[in-house]
Amino acid sequence: MTGVVLYVVLAAFGVVTGGAAGLLGVGGGTLMVPFLTLAVGLTQHEAEATSLLVVLPTAIVASVVLRRRGVGDLGAGLRIGLLGAAGGVLGALLALALPGEVLRIVFACFLGLVAVRLIRDSLLAR
């Protein structure tokens, strides 16, 4: 993909990732990073950096919508995030220094276990 087509496809994919992000409470990096590496051809680190720049306005817009509708506690979330920002700097520096393969496998297995529990909790009536 090159030129205008690339940017139209990116914007269309952005609508999908933004919609998923707003509903799922995530930034959308998980969807964008594979797309940017596999379809656009960025390196892993370039894709992670670029996706983080998209996550920021996405999370702001979603938070404004939720605040207006009275869902959640914006102040508490921001404070959690301020503390998390310190961890974010550490994690980003680690990502530049480490080959993340082993970590990603461990993390993927952890996510799988959480997924099973969530689906089970959703399907079992209380």
């Binding site: 940017y7 914007a11 952005g14 609508v15 999908v16 933004g18 919609g19 992000a21 707003g22 509903l23 995530v26 959308g28 990096g29 998980t30 990073v33 594979p34 960025l42 992670e48 950096a49 983080l52 996550v55 306005p57 996405t58 999370a59 979603a62 938070s63 919508v65 939720l66 869902v71 959640g72 506690d73 914006l74 508490a76 979330g77 921001l78 959690i80 995030g81 998390g84 920002a85 310190a86 961890g87 974010g88 700097v89 550490l90 994690g91 980003a92 520096l93 990502a95 530049l96 970590l103 990603r104 993927a108 297995c109 996510l111 799988g112 997924a115 969530l118 689906i119 909790d121 959703s122």
Partner: protein, 130 residues
């Protein structure tokens, strides 16, 4: 499990569990290139005792400062592709309004199911790519 109460009186007054959730979300966000929500949402639900909907809203708010810090770090490293980011963000901002609107209407159990399926898909995708 008892829900964690947040005292708004002090700027950084948070329950220890919420501090831990923020730190864990931040480190994994920077390390794995995700917004941190994938880590924080399950912890907010199963450790801090929030409802699924509130956990998603809290997570989105927490992602704002976390991604600020990570963007600065990556920006200094010079690895951001600004035009690709701009195109994605143009779509993503429109999508975020739709998605957040849907979050305010969906009920607890289908939301849990959708998030569980999303996590399962992410898990499989990560393992296949490794």
């Amino acid at each position: 499990m008892r829900p964690v109460a947040v005292r708004p009186s002090r700027l950084l007054a948070l329950e220890p569990r919420l501090v831990g959730i923020g730190l864990a979300g931040g480190v994994l966000s920077g390390l794995l290139g995700v917004g941190g929500g994938i880590v924080m949402v399950p912890l907010l639900v199963y450790w801090a005792g929030q409802s699924q909907r509130d956990a998603h809203a809290t997570s989105l708010a927490a992602i704002i400062p976390i991604s600020c810090a990570s963007v600065l770090t990556y920006g200094i490293a010079g690895e951001i592709h600004p035009w690709e980011a701009l195109a994605l963000a143009a779509g993503s901002i429109a999508g975020a309004r739709i998605g957040a609107g849907a979050l305010t209407r969906i009920s607890e159990r289908p939301l849990k199911l959708v998030f569980g399926i999303f996590l399962a898909a992410v898990s499989v995708l990560m393992l296949v790519r490794s």
